[in-house]
């Protein structure tokens, strides 16, 4: 897969190919006059893990947040081009933003549990979206806590505050909270950058297990982590796509000299 010639025309995208979950079509994002993303086009494959990498400030977070419309209320935010989710433009007027955000879950750079009990952290979203009945809460909460590997640590204090948990545990709780609303796409913005090695491993294992059920897009500044976890690499520089390639190809034989420079610079 080459970096050049990958810009999709509208015709390629419409009548959508459902091998792709998220399609970026000439996405330009700016805040006021400041242009951050300068025409990003890429197809992110369904049921795979795509790692977005690139130097600090290249627009990784900006891109990720565009995919569940978290920029909407930022002053000066403007977006041109299209982002398609299962073939439908998410910035179209008819989009139900709440439902979009349910389908596109997000884990942030630092854990941000709600100031609610541990149980409510997990159940509130699912209850609000009408996915769980009151009777579901205890069994489904337990299931999710087991899934993320927190059950043993918190089963005896589900009613207490999450802020006494370690940072890694809080991030795992946030993961369970996102999984509770049954997303199709999971966005992760450097989810392990502030975590201990154990929690980092746990998150990486989860990512590997989850791609059966959903498309995972994660930003990382750690190339080893990208190599470990990703199927596909999307390499950005200064708001543009340098290269998109399967992970092995990207690291063994990158097509673009800038990719080569970035990889080797990192290895040193």
């Amino acid at each position: 897969m080459l970096s050049s010639g990958r810009h999709l025309g509208v015709a390629d995208v419409v009548g959508s190919n459902l091998d792709w979950t998220v399609q970026l079509d000439e996405v330009r994002v700016g805040f006021g006059p400041k242009q951050i993303l300068k025409g990003i086009s890429a197809n992110l494959p369904k049921g795979k893990v795509t790692a977005i990498i690139g130097p600090t400030g290249c627009g990784k977070t900006t891109l990720l947040r565009s995919i569940n419309r978290l920029h909407d209320r930022r002053p000066g935010f403007n977006l041109k081009g299209r982002i398609l989710l299962d073939g439908e433009s998410i910035y179209a007027g008819s989009t139900d933003v709440r439902e979009l955000r349910r389908r596109v879950g997000m884990l942030f750079q630092r854990p941000n549990p709600f100031p609610q009990s541990i149980r409510e952290n997990i159940s509130l979203g699912a209850r609000i979206h009408g996915l769980w009945s009151r009777a579901d809460v205890s069994t489904k909460t337990e299931y999710l806590l087991r899934e993320v590997g927190l059950w043993d640590a918190v089963h005896d204090r589900l009613s207490s505050t999450p802020f006494s948990l370690s940072g890694g545990q809080q991030q795992l709780l946030c993961m369970a909270r996102v999984l509770a609303v049954e997303p199709n796409v999971l966005l992760l913005d450097e989810p392990t950058s502030s975590l201990d090695p154990h929690s980092t491993t746990r998150i990486e294992e989860l990512i590997a297990g989850l791609k059966e059920k959903m498309t995972v897009i994660f930003v990382t500044h750690n190339l080893q982590q990208a190599a470990r976890c990703a199927d596909e690499i999307l390499f950005l520089e200064q708001g543009e796509v340098v290269e998109q390639a399967p992970v092995k190809q990207f690291f063994d034989d990158p097509a673009d000299p800038r990719s080569r420079a970035y990889i080797s610079g990192w290895a040193v």
Partner: protein
């Protein structure tokens, strides 16, 4: 001679000499001028405490004869009168003499003070918090400073203006349009039944008090809401919650304790508010309001209203009586403040508050 602002005295002998600041605080290397400055600062720090003690002591001293004369009657009596100031005949009670027929029963004022301030608080807190949430979510960031100036202006408006507006405009409107509707609540809450009057009375005064304390509560709440980390709110938004749900799930729990403190601040203001209440209360002496619309009075308003005639009491008992209800107000204010602090501590007990943790 040496004195220590901190407990750093021990630091000179055995303690941690690796802490240079502790040594400096302990006074080891101060020049004479530094010492003088420290004395001044120490004195300045003590002034408020001394003033509070002095004021309280003076008030209590002034009030003692009335306490002796009326005993528990001061708290339980329904009749507050200075007696006949124009005849020389005296009434003697517990060894204290007062003008003939004098009685100092403050229960109606205590009731009025507590009830009006509580109604004000019940109305003001949800309105202030709701308004702040609506404003911070809806008003564009560049207009926000304007909002805070507006709140401060409102908070700083003289209470006489509120009183005037209350008696001339607000009260009559309420009596005409709102109160008749409220009487339908009479089936469930009997004190909403009966004549609505002309808009001078307990409910009008309470609502004006509410309007007066809304800016106080709102200003504090607004500062609190601004400290809630964006990241925390985005967690809720990213999960598909609405702004309303985000406010409920994230913002409010973050600021709950602070709102309680803000409410207590507002309550203190409502308890002590004098002028506006005096103008709107209808100034009922010697009894309780017949219903929530009826005239009533508060301690603060009564002191102002009766000060003039109290000064004409040759026995001095009238002034002692006003001082006594002043002491009662002081105690109510102190108790509510302490109670408030206790509630705050209770609510936060065992909970690690996330505010300021930079989560």
């Amino acid at each position: 001679m040496r004195f220590n602002l901190t407990a750093g005295g021990a630091g000179d002998s055995a303690g941690p000499t690796f802490l240079p600041s502790a040594r400096r605080l302990a006074g080891a290397d101060l020049t004479g001028r530094d010492r003088a400055v420290r004395w001044v600062l120490l004195g300045a720090g003590l002034v408020p405490t001394l003033m509070l003690l002095f004021l309280t002591a003076e008030m209590v001293r002034e009030a003692i004869p009335a306490f002796v004369y009326s005993g528990w009657g001061l708290f339980t009596g329904h009749v507050f009168t200075f007696g006949n100031l124009y005849v020389t005949k005296l009434t003697v009670h517990n060894g204290v003499s007062a003008p003939h027929g004098a009685a100092y029963g403050a229960l109606p004022f205590i009731f009025g003070t507590l009830v009006s301030s509580l109604i004000a608080l019940i109305v003001a807190v949800p309105v202030a918090v709701g308004a702040v949430l609506a404003l911070t979510e809806r008003v564009p960031a560049r207009l926000q400073p304007g909002v805070s100036v507006f709140l401060e202006l409102l908070a700083g408006m003289p209470s006489v203006v509120y009183g005037f507006w209350g008696i001339l405009v607000f009260g009559p409107i309420l009596a005409q349009h709102l109160f008749p509707v409220l009487t339908h609540l009479g089936g469930v809450l009997p004190f909403f039944k009966g004549s609505v009057g002309y808009g001078e009375g307990l409910l009008t005064a309470s609502l004006v008090l509410a309007i007066m304390i809304i800016p106080i509560i709102a200003a504090t709440t607004r500062e609190l809401v601004r400290t809630v980390p964006i990241l925390a709110k985005e967690g809720a938004l990213a999960l598909g919650m609405t702004q309303y749900e985000t406010a409920k799930v994230v913002t409010l729990p973050y600021v709950r304790r602070g709102i309680l403190a803000a409410a207590i601040l507002g309550w203190a203001r409502a308890l002590g508010e004098t002028m506006a209440v005096l103008m709107i209360s209808g100034d009922l002496l010697n009894g309780f309001p017949a219903n929530i619309y009826s005239p009533f009075s508060t301690i603060a308003a009564t002191i102002v209203a009766m000060l003039d005639s109290a000064l004409t009491d040759a026995t001095g008992m009238a002034i002692h009586a006003l001082a006594a209800i002043g002491v009662i107000l002081l105690v109510i204010t102190l108790v509510t403040n302490l109670l408030g602090r206790l509630i705050i501590r209770r609510v936060s007990h065992g909970v690690v508050l996330p505010v300021g943790r930079g989560v």
